[in-house]
Protein backbone atom coordinates (compact mmCIF):
# COMPACT_ATOMS: atom_id res chain seq x y z
CA UNK A 1 0.00 0.00 0.00
CA UNK A 2 2.74 2.46 0.97
CA UNK A 3 4.64 1.48 -2.13
CA UNK A 4 1.56 1.93 -4.30
CA UNK A 5 0.96 5.38 -2.87
CA UNK A 6 4.56 6.31 -3.50
CA UNK A 7 4.36 5.21 -7.12
CA UNK A 8 1.15 7.19 -7.50
CA UNK A 9 2.65 10.30 -5.95
CA UNK A 10 5.83 10.16 -7.99
CA UNK A 11 3.97 9.60 -11.23
CA UNK A 12 1.58 12.45 -10.57
CA UNK A 13 4.48 14.68 -9.58
CA UNK A 14 6.32 13.94 -12.80
CA UNK A 15 3.25 14.85 -14.83
CA UNK A 16 2.72 18.00 -12.84
CA UNK A 17 6.27 19.13 -13.60
CA UNK A 18 5.69 18.36 -17.27
CA UNK A 19 2.46 20.35 -17.41
CA UNK A 20 3.98 23.32 -15.64
CA UNK A 21 6.45 23.65 -18.49
CA UNK A 22 3.75 25.24 -20.60
CA UNK A 23 2.83 28.33 -18.70
CA UNK A 24 0.20 29.57 -21.15
CA UNK A 25 -1.69 26.29 -20.99
CA UNK A 26 -1.60 26.44 -17.24
CA UNK A 27 -3.48 29.71 -17.20
CA UNK A 28 -5.87 28.78 -19.99
CA UNK A 29 -6.87 25.66 -18.09
CA UNK A 30 -7.33 27.33 -14.74
CA UNK A 31 -9.42 30.06 -16.31
CA UNK A 32 -11.52 27.48 -18.17
CA UNK A 33 -12.16 25.58 -14.95
CA UNK A 34 -13.05 28.76 -13.16
CA UNK A 35 -15.37 29.87 -15.95
CA UNK A 36 -17.58 26.83 -15.48
CA UNK A 37 -18.05 27.59 -11.82
CA UNK A 38 -18.78 31.20 -12.71
CA UNK A 39 -21.44 29.99 -15.14
CA UNK A 40 -23.10 28.03 -12.35
CA UNK A 41 -23.06 31.09 -10.18
CA UNK A 42 -24.47 33.32 -12.93
CA UNK A 43 -27.27 30.85 -13.52
CA UNK A 44 -28.16 30.72 -9.83
CA UNK A 45 -27.94 34.47 -9.32
CA UNK A 46 -30.05 35.16 -12.42
CA UNK A 47 -32.68 32.70 -11.29
CA UNK A 48 -32.74 33.82 -7.67
CA UNK A 49 -33.12 37.38 -8.84
CA UNK A 50 -36.64 36.30 -9.78
CA UNK A 51 -37.54 33.71 -7.12
CA UNK A 52 -36.84 33.65 -3.35
CA UNK A 53 -36.27 29.91 -3.06
CA UNK A 54 -35.90 26.75 -5.11
CA UNK A 55 -37.92 24.00 -3.44
CA UNK A 56 -37.11 25.36 -0.02
CA UNK A 57 -33.45 26.05 -0.77
CA UNK A 58 -32.39 29.66 -0.37
CA UNK A 59 -29.82 31.35 -2.61
CA UNK A 60 -26.84 30.80 -0.24
CA UNK A 61 -27.88 27.19 0.29
CA UNK A 62 -28.14 26.57 -3.44
CA UNK A 63 -24.73 28.20 -3.90
CA UNK A 64 -23.30 25.94 -1.19
CA UNK A 65 -24.74 22.91 -2.96
CA UNK A 66 -23.44 23.86 -6.41
CA UNK A 67 -20.10 24.88 -4.88
CA UNK A 68 -19.69 21.51 -3.18
CA UNK A 69 -20.41 19.76 -6.44
CA UNK A 70 -17.93 21.98 -8.29
CA UNK A 71 -15.24 21.60 -5.66
CA UNK A 72 -15.45 17.83 -5.62
CA UNK A 73 -15.42 17.83 -9.41
CA UNK A 74 -12.13 19.67 -9.38
CA UNK A 75 -10.45 16.77 -7.61
CA UNK A 76 -10.99 14.46 -10.58
CA UNK A 77 -8.79 16.33 -13.01
CA UNK A 78 -6.17 16.99 -10.37
CA UNK A 79 -5.82 13.48 -8.99
CA UNK A 80 -7.46 11.08 -11.42
CA UNK A 81 -6.97 12.72 -14.80
CA UNK A 82 -5.10 9.73 -16.24
CA UNK A 83 -8.29 7.71 -15.96
CA UNK A 84 -9.78 9.68 -18.83
CA UNK A 85 -7.06 8.40 -21.13
CA UNK A 86 -7.99 4.80 -20.50
CA UNK A 87 -10.25 4.50 -23.56
CA UNK A 88 -7.47 5.65 -25.88
CA UNK A 89 -5.01 3.35 -24.15
CA UNK A 90 -7.27 0.34 -24.58
CA UNK A 91 -7.97 1.19 -28.18
CA UNK A 92 -4.30 1.54 -29.05
CA UNK A 93 -3.14 -1.41 -26.98
CA UNK A 94 -1.20 0.86 -24.67
CA UNK A 95 -1.94 -1.15 -21.57
CA UNK A 96 0.63 -3.68 -22.78
CA UNK A 97 3.51 -2.07 -20.97
CA UNK A 98 1.66 -1.28 -17.74
CA UNK A 99 0.68 -4.95 -17.62
CA UNK A 100 4.34 -5.95 -17.66
CA UNK A 101 5.29 -3.73 -14.74
CA UNK A 102 5.18 -4.67 -11.07
CA UNK A 103 2.66 -2.04 -10.02
CA UNK A 104 -1.14 -2.10 -10.05
CA UNK A 105 -2.38 -1.23 -13.53
CA UNK A 106 -5.12 0.96 -12.10
CA UNK A 107 -2.60 3.10 -10.27
CA UNK A 108 -0.49 3.44 -13.38
CA UNK A 109 -3.54 4.46 -15.37
CA UNK A 110 -5.01 6.87 -12.84
CA UNK A 111 -1.77 8.75 -12.28
CA UNK A 112 -1.00 9.04 -15.98
CA UNK A 113 -1.84 12.73 -16.27
CA UNK A 114 -2.96 15.82 -14.47
CA UNK A 115 -5.56 18.40 -15.47
CA UNK A 116 -4.94 21.81 -14.05
CA UNK A 117 -8.45 23.03 -14.82
CA UNK A 118 -9.26 21.24 -11.58
CA UNK A 119 -7.54 24.13 -9.81
CA UNK A 120 -10.11 26.48 -11.33
CA UNK A 121 -12.93 24.23 -10.10
CA UNK A 122 -11.40 24.05 -6.63
CA UNK A 123 -11.01 27.81 -6.41
CA UNK A 124 -14.48 28.55 -7.82
CA UNK A 125 -16.21 25.77 -5.92
CA UNK A 126 -14.30 26.56 -2.74
CA UNK A 127 -15.28 30.21 -2.91
CA UNK A 128 -18.91 29.25 -3.42
CA UNK A 129 -18.79 26.87 -0.45
CA UNK A 130 -17.25 29.57 1.71
CA UNK A 131 -19.78 32.19 0.73
CA UNK A 132 -22.66 29.75 1.02
CA UNK A 133 -21.61 28.63 4.51
CA UNK A 134 -21.13 32.20 5.69
CA UNK A 135 -24.63 33.17 4.59
CA UNK A 136 -26.45 30.02 5.65
CA UNK A 137 -27.89 29.29 9.03
CA UNK A 138 -25.79 26.48 10.51
CA UNK A 139 -25.29 25.76 14.21
CA UNK A 140 -21.59 24.99 14.28
CA UNK A 141 -20.03 22.50 16.68
CA UNK A 142 -16.82 20.44 16.55
CA UNK A 143 -18.89 17.40 15.57
CA UNK A 144 -20.45 19.31 12.72
CA UNK A 145 -17.09 20.47 11.42
CA UNK A 146 -15.59 16.99 11.68
CA UNK A 147 -18.66 15.41 10.14
CA UNK A 148 -18.65 17.94 7.33
CA UNK A 149 -15.05 17.17 6.47
CA UNK A 150 -15.68 13.43 6.60
CA UNK A 151 -18.66 13.79 4.29
CA UNK A 152 -16.64 15.93 1.89
CA UNK A 153 -13.90 13.30 1.75
CA UNK A 154 -16.50 10.60 1.21
CA UNK A 155 -18.24 12.49 -1.54
CA UNK A 156 -14.90 13.02 -3.29
CA UNK A 157 -14.25 9.28 -3.02
CA UNK A 158 -17.62 8.56 -4.59
CA UNK A 159 -17.00 10.83 -7.55
CA UNK A 160 -13.48 9.50 -8.17
CA UNK A 161 -14.78 5.94 -8.01
CA UNK A 162 -17.51 6.78 -10.50
CA UNK A 163 -14.87 8.20 -12.82
CA UNK A 164 -13.04 4.88 -12.66
CA UNK A 165 -16.20 2.86 -13.21
CA UNK A 166 -17.26 5.00 -16.15
CA UNK A 167 -13.90 4.87 -17.84
CA UNK A 168 -13.47 1.16 -17.19
CA UNK A 169 -16.64 0.73 -19.25
CA UNK A 170 -14.37 1.46 -22.22
CA UNK A 171 -13.15 -2.13 -21.91
CA UNK A 172 -16.60 -3.13 -23.16
CA UNK A 173 -17.68 -0.11 -25.16
CA UNK A 174 -14.57 0.36 -27.29
CA UNK A 175 -13.80 3.50 -29.22
CA UNK A 176 -11.17 6.11 -28.66
CA UNK A 177 -13.04 8.51 -26.42
CA UNK A 178 -14.49 7.81 -22.99
CA UNK A 179 -17.99 8.71 -24.03
CA UNK A 180 -19.66 6.47 -21.50
CA UNK A 181 -17.71 8.03 -18.65
CA UNK A 182 -18.42 11.50 -19.97
CA UNK A 183 -22.12 10.70 -19.99
CA UNK A 184 -22.00 9.19 -16.53
CA UNK A 185 -20.20 12.15 -15.03
CA UNK A 186 -22.13 14.80 -16.96
CA UNK A 187 -25.40 13.23 -15.86
CA UNK A 188 -24.17 13.83 -12.36
CA UNK A 189 -24.27 17.54 -13.11
CA UNK A 190 -27.96 17.30 -12.33
CA UNK A 191 -26.86 16.82 -8.72
CA UNK A 192 -25.69 20.39 -8.42
CA UNK A 193 -29.35 21.36 -7.88
CA UNK A 194 -31.48 20.22 -4.94
CA UNK A 195 -32.53 16.65 -5.59
CA UNK A 196 -36.08 17.44 -4.52
CA UNK A 197 -36.81 19.27 -7.78
CA UNK A 198 -36.71 15.99 -9.67
CA UNK A 199 -39.36 13.36 -10.13
CA UNK A 200 -39.39 10.26 -8.01
CA UNK A 201 -37.70 8.12 -10.68
CA UNK A 202 -34.71 10.43 -10.87
CA UNK A 203 -34.51 10.72 -7.09
CA UNK A 204 -34.48 6.96 -6.71
CA UNK A 205 -31.92 6.51 -9.48
CA UNK A 206 -29.59 9.12 -8.07
CA UNK A 207 -29.82 7.70 -4.58
CA UNK A 208 -29.64 3.99 -5.22
CA UNK A 209 -28.47 3.19 -8.72
CA UNK A 210 -25.81 5.83 -9.35
CA UNK A 211 -25.27 7.68 -6.08
CA UNK A 212 -24.83 11.18 -7.44
CA UNK A 213 -27.03 12.50 -4.66
CA UNK A 214 -24.34 11.53 -2.14
CA UNK A 215 -21.80 13.76 -3.88
CA UNK A 216 -23.42 17.00 -2.80
CA UNK A 217 -27.12 16.85 -1.98
CA UNK A 218 -27.19 14.53 1.03
CA UNK A 219 -23.98 15.84 2.63
CA UNK A 220 -25.19 19.44 2.22
CA UNK A 221 -28.64 18.48 3.54
CA UNK A 222 -27.02 17.05 6.66
CA UNK A 223 -24.92 20.15 7.19
CA UNK A 224 -27.89 22.46 6.74
CA UNK A 225 -30.21 20.27 8.76
CA UNK A 226 -32.73 19.80 5.96
CA UNK A 227 -35.39 17.11 6.11
CA UNK A 228 -34.11 13.52 6.26
CA UNK A 229 -30.68 14.94 6.99
CA UNK A 230 -29.59 11.64 8.51
CA UNK A 231 -29.24 10.09 5.04
CA UNK A 232 -26.16 12.27 4.63
CA UNK A 233 -24.44 10.22 7.31
CA UNK A 234 -24.58 7.20 5.00
CA UNK A 235 -22.18 8.92 2.60
CA UNK A 236 -19.04 7.17 3.97
CA UNK A 237 -20.67 3.77 3.51
CA UNK A 238 -21.70 4.61 -0.02
CA UNK A 239 -18.12 5.72 -0.65
CA UNK A 240 -16.76 2.36 0.51
CA UNK A 241 -19.21 0.56 -1.74
CA UNK A 242 -18.16 2.70 -4.72
CA UNK A 243 -14.48 1.97 -4.14
CA UNK A 244 -15.26 -1.72 -4.09
CA UNK A 245 -17.30 -1.41 -7.28
CA UNK A 246 -14.60 0.55 -9.09
CA UNK A 247 -11.95 -2.03 -8.32
CA UNK A 248 -14.20 -4.86 -9.36
CA UNK A 249 -15.22 -3.32 -12.67
CA UNK A 250 -11.65 -2.41 -13.53
CA UNK A 251 -10.44 -5.92 -12.72
CA UNK A 252 -13.15 -7.51 -14.84
CA UNK A 253 -12.42 -5.12 -17.67
CA UNK A 254 -8.72 -5.81 -17.60
CA UNK A 255 -9.51 -9.48 -18.09
CA UNK A 256 -11.22 -8.59 -21.37
CA UNK A 257 -8.28 -6.56 -22.59
CA UNK A 258 -7.20 -7.81 -25.99
CA UNK A 259 -4.26 -5.55 -26.76
CA UNK A 260 -4.11 -4.40 -30.39
CA UNK A 261 -2.77 -6.06 -33.50
CA UNK A 262 1.00 -5.36 -33.95
Amino acid sequence: MRRTLRIYRRSLGAHLRAVLEYEADFWVLIVAGLLFQVLNLIFLSAVFAHVPALNGWSYPEAVLLAGTYGFVNGLGPLFFEGTWRLAGKINHGELDYPLTRPAPVLVQVVSGGIGLHGVGDLIGGGAMIGWGLAHSDIDWSPARIGGGLLLLASSATILLSLIVVGNAASFWVGGNHPVFAMTLIRTGDMAKYPLSIYGVAVRATFTVLVPYAFISFFPASWLLGKESAWIGLLTPLVALYCVYLARLVFRLGLRRYDSAGH
Binding site: H15, A18, Y97, L99, P102, D258, H262
Partner: protein, 332 residues
Amino acid sequence: MSLVEARGLTKIFRRPEKDPGLRGSLKHLVQRRFKDFRAVDGIDLSIEAGESVAYVGPNGAGKSTTIKLLTGILVPTAGTVRVAGAEPHTDRMVNARNIGVLFGQRTQLWWDLPVRESLALLRDMYDLSPAFYKQRLERLDEVLGLADLLPVVARKLSLGQRMRADLAAALLHQPKIVYLDEPTIGLDISVKDRVRQFLRELRQDGTTLMLTTHDLGDIEDVCERIVIIDEGRKIFDGPLAQMKDRFARVRRMHLQLAEPTPVEKLAERLPDVEVIAGDSPTEVTVTFDRFTHTAGQIIAGVLDVVEVGELHLDEPAIEDVVRKVYAGELLR
Protein backbone atom coordinates in the same frame (compact mmCIF):
# COMPACT_ATOMS: atom_id res chain seq x y z
CA MET B 1 11.91 -27.28 -15.66
CA SER B 2 12.76 -24.72 -18.29
CA LEU B 3 12.71 -21.03 -17.59
CA VAL B 4 9.89 -20.51 -20.08
CA GLU B 5 7.41 -23.33 -20.64
CA ALA B 6 4.44 -23.04 -22.94
CA ARG B 7 2.15 -25.97 -23.66
CA GLY B 8 -0.54 -25.92 -26.31
CA LEU B 9 -0.59 -22.13 -26.18
CA THR B 10 -3.60 -20.82 -28.09
CA LYS B 11 -5.16 -17.39 -28.56
CA ILE B 12 -8.41 -16.82 -30.39
CA PHE B 13 -9.47 -13.28 -31.23
CA ARG B 14 -13.04 -12.37 -32.02
CA ARG B 15 -13.32 -10.13 -35.04
CA PRO B 16 -16.42 -8.24 -36.07
CA GLU B 17 -17.58 -9.21 -39.54
CA LYS B 18 -18.65 -6.15 -41.38
CA ASP B 19 -19.50 -5.51 -45.00
CA PRO B 20 -17.76 -2.52 -46.53
CA GLY B 21 -19.38 0.88 -46.84
CA LEU B 22 -22.14 2.72 -45.09
CA ARG B 23 -24.57 -0.11 -45.72
CA GLY B 24 -22.21 -2.49 -43.98
CA SER B 25 -21.93 -0.21 -40.96
CA LEU B 26 -25.68 0.11 -40.70
CA LYS B 27 -26.18 -3.61 -41.08
CA HIS B 28 -23.62 -4.36 -38.40
CA LEU B 29 -25.48 -2.00 -36.15
CA VAL B 30 -28.54 -4.20 -36.23
CA GLN B 31 -27.00 -7.58 -36.68
CA ARG B 32 -23.64 -8.09 -35.08
CA ARG B 33 -21.64 -10.98 -36.43
CA PHE B 34 -18.28 -12.15 -35.25
CA LYS B 35 -15.74 -14.58 -36.49
CA ASP B 36 -13.18 -16.41 -34.44
CA PHE B 37 -9.62 -16.03 -35.50
CA ARG B 38 -6.80 -18.23 -34.25
CA ALA B 39 -3.74 -16.01 -33.97
CA VAL B 40 -1.73 -18.56 -32.00
CA ASP B 41 -2.64 -22.17 -32.42
CA GLY B 42 -1.28 -24.75 -29.99
CA ILE B 43 2.31 -23.67 -29.63
CA ASP B 44 4.71 -25.67 -27.44
CA LEU B 45 7.85 -23.87 -26.47
CA SER B 46 10.56 -24.36 -23.85
CA ILE B 47 13.36 -21.93 -23.34
CA GLU B 48 16.25 -22.69 -21.00
CA ALA B 49 17.97 -20.04 -18.92
CA GLY B 50 20.66 -18.29 -20.91
CA GLU B 51 19.32 -19.26 -24.31
CA SER B 52 18.73 -16.72 -27.01
CA VAL B 53 15.88 -17.57 -29.28
CA ALA B 54 14.90 -15.96 -32.55
CA TYR B 55 11.18 -16.11 -33.15
CA VAL B 56 10.41 -15.51 -36.79
CA GLY B 57 7.57 -15.87 -39.21
CA PRO B 58 5.82 -13.86 -41.91
CA ASN B 59 3.59 -10.87 -41.11
CA GLY B 60 0.58 -11.87 -39.10
CA ALA B 61 2.07 -15.22 -38.12
CA GLY B 62 1.32 -14.64 -34.46
CA LYS B 63 4.72 -13.61 -33.13
CA SER B 64 3.66 -10.52 -31.24
CA THR B 65 0.62 -12.34 -29.93
CA THR B 66 2.84 -15.13 -28.57
CA ILE B 67 5.02 -12.58 -26.81
CA LYS B 68 1.96 -10.94 -25.30
CA LEU B 69 0.85 -14.34 -24.04
CA LEU B 70 4.26 -15.11 -22.56
CA THR B 71 4.44 -11.74 -20.83
CA GLY B 72 0.97 -11.98 -19.32
CA ILE B 73 -0.51 -9.14 -21.34
CA LEU B 74 -3.05 -11.45 -22.92
CA VAL B 75 -4.87 -14.30 -21.25
CA PRO B 76 -4.50 -17.48 -23.33
CA THR B 77 -7.67 -18.99 -24.75
CA ALA B 78 -6.17 -22.43 -24.11
CA GLY B 79 -2.89 -23.91 -23.02
CA THR B 80 -0.52 -23.06 -20.20
CA VAL B 81 2.44 -20.78 -19.71
CA ARG B 82 5.01 -20.82 -16.93
CA VAL B 83 7.79 -18.32 -16.72
CA ALA B 84 10.26 -19.00 -13.91
CA GLY B 85 7.54 -21.05 -12.27
CA ALA B 86 4.91 -18.32 -12.32
CA GLU B 87 1.86 -18.06 -14.51
CA PRO B 88 2.28 -14.65 -16.15
CA HIS B 89 -1.31 -13.45 -16.37
CA THR B 90 -2.29 -14.53 -12.87
CA ASP B 91 0.98 -13.87 -11.01
CA ARG B 92 1.42 -10.68 -12.95
CA MET B 93 3.43 -8.81 -10.33
CA VAL B 94 5.82 -11.67 -9.65
CA ASN B 95 6.36 -12.27 -13.33
CA ALA B 96 6.86 -8.57 -14.00
CA ARG B 97 10.01 -8.46 -11.91
CA ASN B 98 11.58 -11.26 -13.92
CA ILE B 99 10.99 -9.91 -17.36
CA GLY B 100 11.83 -6.97 -19.55
CA VAL B 101 9.74 -6.24 -22.63
CA LEU B 102 10.25 -4.10 -25.68
CA PHE B 103 7.76 -3.66 -28.48
CA GLY B 104 9.71 -1.90 -31.17
CA GLN B 105 6.64 -0.25 -32.66
CA ARG B 106 5.55 1.29 -29.40
CA THR B 107 7.26 3.13 -26.67
CA GLN B 108 6.84 2.54 -22.98
CA LEU B 109 8.20 5.98 -22.20
CA TRP B 110 5.66 8.46 -20.90
CA TRP B 111 4.89 10.58 -23.90
CA ASP B 112 4.97 14.01 -22.24
CA LEU B 113 7.79 13.35 -19.81
CA PRO B 114 11.54 13.70 -20.23
CA VAL B 115 13.30 10.34 -20.54
CA ARG B 116 14.90 10.87 -17.15
CA GLU B 117 11.49 11.13 -15.49
CA SER B 118 10.28 7.98 -17.23
CA LEU B 119 13.29 6.05 -16.02
CA ALA B 120 12.86 7.40 -12.50
CA LEU B 121 9.25 6.24 -12.48
CA LEU B 122 10.34 2.79 -13.53
CA ARG B 123 12.93 2.85 -10.77
CA ASP B 124 10.14 3.44 -8.27
CA MET B 125 7.97 0.72 -9.69
CA TYR B 126 10.73 -1.86 -9.61
CA ASP B 127 11.97 -0.70 -6.18
CA LEU B 128 15.53 -0.22 -7.35
CA SER B 129 17.97 1.09 -4.76
CA PRO B 130 19.59 4.42 -5.59
CA ALA B 131 23.01 2.81 -5.86
CA PHE B 132 21.80 0.06 -8.16
CA TYR B 133 19.89 2.55 -10.27
CA LYS B 134 22.92 4.75 -10.68
CA GLN B 135 25.10 1.83 -11.60
CA ARG B 136 22.58 0.59 -14.15
CA LEU B 137 22.23 4.00 -15.73
CA GLU B 138 25.99 4.26 -16.10
CA ARG B 139 26.17 0.84 -17.67
CA LEU B 140 23.30 1.56 -20.05
CA ASP B 141 24.80 4.92 -20.90
CA GLU B 142 28.04 3.20 -21.90
CA VAL B 143 26.41 0.93 -24.43
CA LEU B 144 23.43 2.98 -25.53
CA GLY B 145 24.70 6.55 -25.24
CA LEU B 146 21.84 7.60 -23.01
CA ALA B 147 23.26 10.77 -21.51
CA ASP B 148 22.14 13.05 -24.36
CA LEU B 149 18.64 11.66 -24.31
CA LEU B 150 17.85 11.98 -20.62
CA PRO B 151 16.56 15.56 -20.61
CA VAL B 152 14.51 15.18 -23.80
CA VAL B 153 10.73 14.73 -23.76
CA ALA B 154 9.88 11.33 -25.23
CA ARG B 155 7.64 12.73 -27.93
CA LYS B 156 10.55 14.70 -29.34
CA LEU B 157 12.93 11.77 -29.75
CA SER B 158 13.81 10.45 -33.18
CA LEU B 159 13.03 6.82 -33.82
CA GLY B 160 16.57 5.63 -33.17
CA GLN B 161 16.90 7.69 -30.01
CA ARG B 162 13.56 6.47 -28.81
CA MET B 163 14.55 2.86 -29.34
CA ARG B 164 17.72 3.36 -27.33
CA ALA B 165 15.79 4.97 -24.52
CA ASP B 166 13.20 2.21 -24.69
CA LEU B 167 15.89 -0.46 -24.48
CA ALA B 168 17.20 1.24 -21.38
CA ALA B 169 13.68 1.32 -19.93
CA ALA B 170 13.16 -2.37 -20.63
CA LEU B 171 16.49 -3.39 -19.11
CA LEU B 172 16.75 -0.97 -16.22
CA HIS B 173 15.87 -3.56 -13.59
CA GLN B 174 18.23 -6.15 -15.06
CA PRO B 175 15.56 -8.70 -15.91
CA LYS B 176 16.29 -12.41 -16.19
CA ILE B 177 14.35 -12.75 -19.41
CA VAL B 178 14.04 -10.15 -22.10
CA TYR B 179 11.41 -10.25 -24.84
CA LEU B 180 12.13 -8.04 -27.79
CA ASP B 181 9.52 -7.60 -30.51
CA GLU B 182 11.24 -6.09 -33.52
CA PRO B 183 13.88 -4.12 -31.63
CA THR B 184 15.60 -2.88 -34.79
CA ILE B 185 12.58 -1.79 -36.79
CA GLY B 186 13.20 1.43 -38.68
CA LEU B 187 16.74 1.90 -37.39
CA ASP B 188 19.66 2.99 -39.54
CA ILE B 189 22.63 0.69 -39.98
CA SER B 190 24.83 2.22 -37.32
CA VAL B 191 22.15 2.26 -34.63
CA LYS B 192 21.19 -1.26 -35.64
CA ASP B 193 24.78 -2.41 -35.18
CA ARG B 194 24.85 -0.75 -31.81
CA VAL B 195 21.67 -2.46 -30.72
CA ARG B 196 22.93 -5.84 -31.91
CA GLN B 197 26.21 -5.32 -30.12
CA PHE B 198 24.23 -4.50 -27.02
CA LEU B 199 22.11 -7.64 -27.35
CA ARG B 200 25.25 -9.77 -27.72
CA GLU B 201 26.63 -8.33 -24.51
CA LEU B 202 23.33 -8.95 -22.82
CA ARG B 203 23.52 -12.56 -23.85
CA GLN B 204 27.05 -12.88 -22.56
CA ASP B 205 25.83 -11.58 -19.21
CA GLY B 206 23.60 -14.65 -19.13
CA THR B 207 20.30 -12.95 -19.88
CA THR B 208 17.73 -15.10 -21.62
CA LEU B 209 16.57 -13.51 -24.85
CA MET B 210 13.60 -13.99 -27.09
CA LEU B 211 13.62 -11.87 -30.17
CA THR B 212 11.25 -11.44 -33.07
CA THR B 213 12.41 -9.64 -36.14
CA HIS B 214 12.10 -9.35 -39.88
CA ASP B 215 15.74 -8.37 -40.19
CA LEU B 216 17.54 -11.68 -40.25
CA GLY B 217 20.82 -9.94 -39.62
CA ASP B 218 19.65 -9.53 -36.03
CA ILE B 219 19.33 -13.27 -35.70
CA GLU B 220 22.64 -14.28 -37.14
CA ASP B 221 24.41 -11.88 -34.85
CA VAL B 222 22.56 -12.61 -31.66
CA CYS B 223 20.73 -15.93 -31.59
CA GLU B 224 21.73 -19.55 -31.60
CA ARG B 225 18.27 -21.03 -31.77
CA ILE B 226 15.48 -20.24 -34.19
CA VAL B 227 11.78 -20.91 -33.97
CA ILE B 228 9.74 -20.36 -37.11
CA ILE B 229 5.98 -20.03 -36.95
CA ASP B 230 3.34 -19.53 -39.58
CA GLU B 231 -0.39 -19.06 -39.16
CA GLY B 232 -0.02 -19.52 -35.45
CA ARG B 233 1.75 -22.87 -35.68
CA LYS B 234 5.34 -23.81 -35.11
CA ILE B 235 7.02 -25.15 -38.22
CA PHE B 236 10.63 -25.30 -37.12
CA ASP B 237 12.43 -25.23 -33.81
CA GLY B 238 16.14 -25.91 -33.47
CA PRO B 239 19.68 -24.54 -33.60
CA LEU B 240 20.33 -22.01 -36.32
CA ALA B 241 23.08 -24.19 -37.79
CA GLN B 242 20.76 -27.14 -37.96
CA MET B 243 18.17 -25.16 -39.83
CA LYS B 244 20.74 -24.19 -42.38
CA ASP B 245 21.89 -27.80 -42.69
CA ARG B 246 18.44 -29.05 -43.09
CA PHE B 247 16.94 -26.51 -45.39
CA ALA B 248 19.83 -24.88 -47.24
CA ARG B 249 20.18 -27.46 -49.99
CA VAL B 250 21.77 -25.24 -52.50
CA ARG B 251 25.46 -24.44 -52.08
CA ARG B 252 27.57 -22.11 -54.14
CA MET B 253 31.31 -22.56 -54.75
CA HIS B 254 33.50 -19.88 -56.34
CA LEU B 255 36.68 -21.16 -57.98
CA GLN B 256 39.78 -19.39 -59.27
CA LEU B 257 41.21 -21.53 -62.07
CA ALA B 258 44.86 -21.79 -63.04
CA GLU B 259 44.09 -21.09 -66.70
CA PRO B 260 41.07 -19.92 -68.72
CA THR B 261 38.64 -22.77 -69.21
CA PRO B 262 35.31 -22.77 -71.07
CA VAL B 263 32.41 -23.50 -68.75
CA GLU B 264 31.00 -26.10 -71.16
CA LYS B 265 34.01 -28.27 -70.53
CA LEU B 266 33.45 -28.18 -66.82
CA ALA B 267 29.71 -28.69 -67.21
CA GLU B 268 30.36 -31.80 -69.23
CA ARG B 269 32.43 -33.23 -66.42
CA LEU B 270 29.88 -32.20 -63.76
CA PRO B 271 26.38 -33.23 -64.85
CA ASP B 272 23.33 -32.07 -62.78
CA VAL B 273 25.30 -29.08 -61.60
CA GLU B 274 25.08 -25.48 -62.72
CA VAL B 275 28.34 -23.91 -63.83
CA ILE B 276 28.50 -20.20 -64.58
CA ALA B 277 31.38 -18.12 -65.87
CA GLY B 278 32.71 -15.51 -63.47
CA ASP B 279 33.96 -11.96 -64.03
CA SER B 280 37.20 -13.09 -65.63
CA PRO B 281 37.91 -16.11 -67.88
CA THR B 282 39.62 -17.85 -64.96
CA GLU B 283 36.69 -17.59 -62.56
CA VAL B 284 33.68 -19.87 -62.34
CA THR B 285 30.82 -20.35 -59.92
CA VAL B 286 29.42 -23.81 -59.34
CA THR B 287 25.97 -24.19 -57.77
CA PHE B 288 25.06 -27.63 -56.49
CA ASP B 289 22.56 -29.48 -54.35
CA ARG B 290 24.38 -30.63 -51.25
CA PHE B 291 22.09 -33.63 -50.87
CA THR B 292 23.27 -35.09 -54.18
CA HIS B 293 26.85 -33.83 -54.28
CA THR B 294 29.52 -33.12 -51.73
CA ALA B 295 31.87 -30.20 -52.02
CA GLY B 296 34.69 -32.78 -52.39
CA GLN B 297 33.06 -34.33 -55.45
CA ILE B 298 32.78 -30.94 -57.06
CA ILE B 299 36.41 -30.09 -56.45
CA ALA B 300 37.54 -33.49 -57.70
CA GLY B 301 35.50 -33.01 -60.85
CA VAL B 302 37.00 -29.61 -61.56
CA LEU B 303 40.52 -30.87 -60.84
CA ASP B 304 40.03 -33.47 -63.56
CA VAL B 305 39.80 -30.65 -66.03
CA VAL B 306 42.00 -27.88 -64.72
CA GLU B 307 44.17 -26.86 -61.75
CA VAL B 308 42.43 -24.79 -59.10
CA GLY B 309 44.04 -21.74 -57.52
CA GLU B 310 41.65 -20.52 -54.88
CA LEU B 311 38.22 -21.62 -53.83
CA HIS B 312 35.54 -20.23 -51.62
CA LEU B 313 32.27 -21.72 -50.44
CA ASP B 314 29.36 -19.36 -49.71
CA GLU B 315 27.82 -19.69 -46.28
CA PRO B 316 24.20 -20.68 -46.73
CA ALA B 317 22.30 -17.43 -46.32
CA ILE B 318 19.68 -17.70 -43.64
CA GLU B 319 17.71 -15.17 -45.61
CA ASP B 320 17.29 -17.61 -48.49
CA VAL B 321 16.22 -20.37 -46.19
CA VAL B 322 13.65 -18.31 -44.38
CA ARG B 323 12.30 -16.95 -47.62
CA LYS B 324 11.69 -20.47 -48.81
CA VAL B 325 10.08 -21.44 -45.55
CA TYR B 326 7.74 -18.49 -45.80
CA ALA B 327 6.92 -19.33 -49.38
CA GLY B 328 5.83 -22.74 -48.18
CA GLU B 329 8.52 -24.61 -50.08
CA LEU B 330 10.04 -26.42 -47.15
CA LEU B 331 7.07 -27.10 -45.01
CA ARG B 332 6.91 -29.41 -42.03
